[in-house]
């Protein structure tokens, strides 16, 4: 029976302190009864192996003890939807704050690394926010399980609910294919467009932006004797106009995510205009040129050729992506028009 005592001792370790004696006493009696039963069947005392087999069937001490514990959770199923809803709102507010801070830094002409640092510090702010919201809701959950406050609240809300007071169907939501444009997607696009415009306007000579994009941080060094080709100066204003148009569309989409037709049409126009700009950029013979009067111009001709080639291919790739985006917008527009006709036919 030494094995049984050792087993019970192991189970005891994992049990809640207040219940240890009671549970072990009962479990001990049940196991002893089972062992005696088996001995009566076998007609002899059980060997250690036979006893071990009984205990093994009964289960690992940790597992056995865990069954006596009540299931625990930090935030229960009742409160979880509220928790998740609040969490999303608070994280959105924090994210908005950081996005605005980053835009301010861009507008001030701060270095890109400083702007990126400000954006990435959002991740550092997310964890404490997540922890605090979780702690608050965990405390609320304890209160709720004791006083059943939410149960009363949901019962009252449910009693007051009248389906006839629900808002009318949104026009576009009658179309099976018309899913709203996700607001998170629009917010990201809006942020990057605003950041781009601020940058495009702010960065004194635009060359810094393009040089940075093509050569990395080295592009900002004054030792690189490249400057923008004439095509960029021609396109300076059209790029701003196009970006502002995209920002306008994104603001409207943010407010009315169900305006699918508007979204598709606006995207089509902006993408179409972008393709025209790409046409001029790709056609230009040199996107970057050597700064006039560069002393050792011959040394830079090969690097300049490589940079220009890379830029050309990048622009071509961007144009292809924009072209396919335009096709998607056209398909969306056509589907949006066809679906009501089909539903009438049915």
């Amino acid at each position: 029976m030494d094995l049984l005592e050792r087993y019970l001792q192991a189970v005891r370790t994992y049990l809640p302190k207040r219940q240890q004696d009671d549970i072990i006493k009962e479990l001990s009696e049940n196991l002893r009864a089972q062992i005696e039963d088996r001995e009566a069947e076998a007609g002899h005392s059980l060997s250690e192996d036979e006893l071990a087999a009984i205990l093994q069937r009964h289960g690992h001490p940790l597992l056995v003890a865990s069954r006596y514990r009540q299931a625990r959770h930090l935030i229960g199923a009742t409160l979880f939807p509220f928790y998740w809803f609040v969490m999303k709102i608070i994280l959105a507010i924090v994210g908005f704050g950081y996005a605005v801070a980053a835009l301010v830094l861009i507008a001030q002409g701060k270095p890109i690394l400083e702007v990126l640092g400000a954006l990435f510090s959002f991740i550092g702010a997310v964890l404490p926010t997540f922890a605090w919201v979780t702690i608050v809701f965990a405390v609320l959950d304890i209160g709720n399980s004791k006083f059943r406050l939410l149960e009363k609240f949901t019962k009252e809300t449910n009693d007051k609910f009248d389906a006839r007071e629900l808002p009318p169907l949104r026009t576009d939501s009658k179309l099976p294919d018309a899913k709203p444009i996700p607001r998170t997607k629009t917010i990201f696009e809006l942020f990057f467009n605003v950041a781009f415009v601020l940058w495009w306007v702010r960065v004194g000579p635009i060359r810094r932006l393009v040089l940075l994009m093509t050569l990395g941080p080295a592009g900002l060094s004054n030792r690189i004797p490249f400057q923008l080709g004439p095509v960029w100066h021609t396109l300076f204003v059209p790029v701003i106009m196009l970006s502002l148009a995209a920002i306008g569309q994104q603001i409207v989409t943010l407010i009315h995510p169900y305006w699918i037709s508007f979204y598709s049409a606006a995207r089509l126009i902006v993408n179409g205009c972008s393709l025209i700009l790409f046409y001029f950029v790709i056609r230009a013979s040199e996107l970057l040129v050597l700064v006039p009067g560069t002393a050792d111009a011959a040394n830079f001709s090969e690097p300049l050729r490589i940079v220009n080639l890379t830029l050309h291919y990048s622009m071509m790739l961007a144009a292809v992506i924009t072209f396919f985006e335009s096709l998607k917008a056209i398909r969306r527009l056509i589907r949006g028009r066809r679906v009501p006709a089909m539903s009438h036919a049915i």
Partner: protein, 111 residues
């Protein structure tokens, strides 16, 4: 892989289906007083096998919910904890049995 997922899914659903039925079986069996191991044997004799590690904690939970009452008593020179259905437990069992029968007959009509 598909077989494993299938069997896991089946096992989960089977456990879900069994969970409620086990409670009815335990409550019904405890219309007569039993201690833990004897109850397990009685249920097994009627075709309802339950693991000890499931049954014993379940008895304590049902007691804490007021559906069972228990007392320590000596039997065969051993102290054992005997459980039986409480008055409240009997009422709940009656309602559960009605619900189970109604569900059973509905299911029979459906499948």
């Amino acid at each position: 892989m598909v077989t494993t997922i299938h069997s896991e899914l089946f096992e989960n659903l089977r456990m879900e289906l069994r969970r409620g039925s086990l409670i009815i079986a335990v409550l019904a069996q405890l219309r007569t007083e039993h201690y833990g191991y004897a109850l397990r044997k009685a249920l097994a004799d009627r075709g309802m096998e339950i693991e000890e590690s499931t049954l014993y904690p379940l008895l304590r939970r049902l007691e804490s919910q007021g559906l069972l009452v228990s007392e320590w008593r000596e039997e065969d020179k051993r102290n054992k904890r005997f459980y039986r259905l409480s008055e409240n437990g009997a009422l709940i069992l009656k309602e559960l049995l009605e619900e189970w029968q109604s569900m059973n007959s509905s299911l029979n009509r459906i499948v």
